[in-house]
Symmetry: C2
Subunit: 78 residues, 2 copies
């Protein structure tokens, strides 16, 4: 079963990558872009029931894929 | 209008990050995880019609967010 984990900086944490990309986008002439958020996305292929896969994926995200102090993550099934 | 760009390595390109995370996941005891793919995700806030936003976002992804030689990207509306 394929499951997706998306990890973004919390909204109260400054996103320097997003800011840098926004500047580059404007530099290329795309002035209608108001903001850019940058995150990480993981696709895991996990065996098991939907409940088991969801539980394990959340544990893996919490322990390994996201830094709970500055990041939030969401889990969704593909 | 919020639009999401997801960037992944092409399937014929080796994903060292994914492999490293898979090893770490197994090391933590999650042996039912068969594979891990790692990508980047961007959320852009862009003014304009849906067609205009889609066209501009694809151009930005092609020029700036993805390396067309080794990566694929998808664009979706939030």
């Amino acid at each position: 079963m394929k499951v997706k984990v998306e990890v973004f900086l919390r909204s109260d944490v400054f996103d320097p990558q997003g800011k840098a990309i926004l500047n580059a986008v404007h530099h290329l002439g795309y002035h209608k872009v108001g903001s850019v958020q940058v995150g990480k996305v993981f696709i895991l292929d996990v065996e098991g029931s939907k409940e088991e896969v969801e539980r394990q994926t959340k544990e893996i995200a919490d322990k390994l894929l996201a830094n709970p102090i500055i990041e939030n993550f969401t889990v969704s099934f593909l």
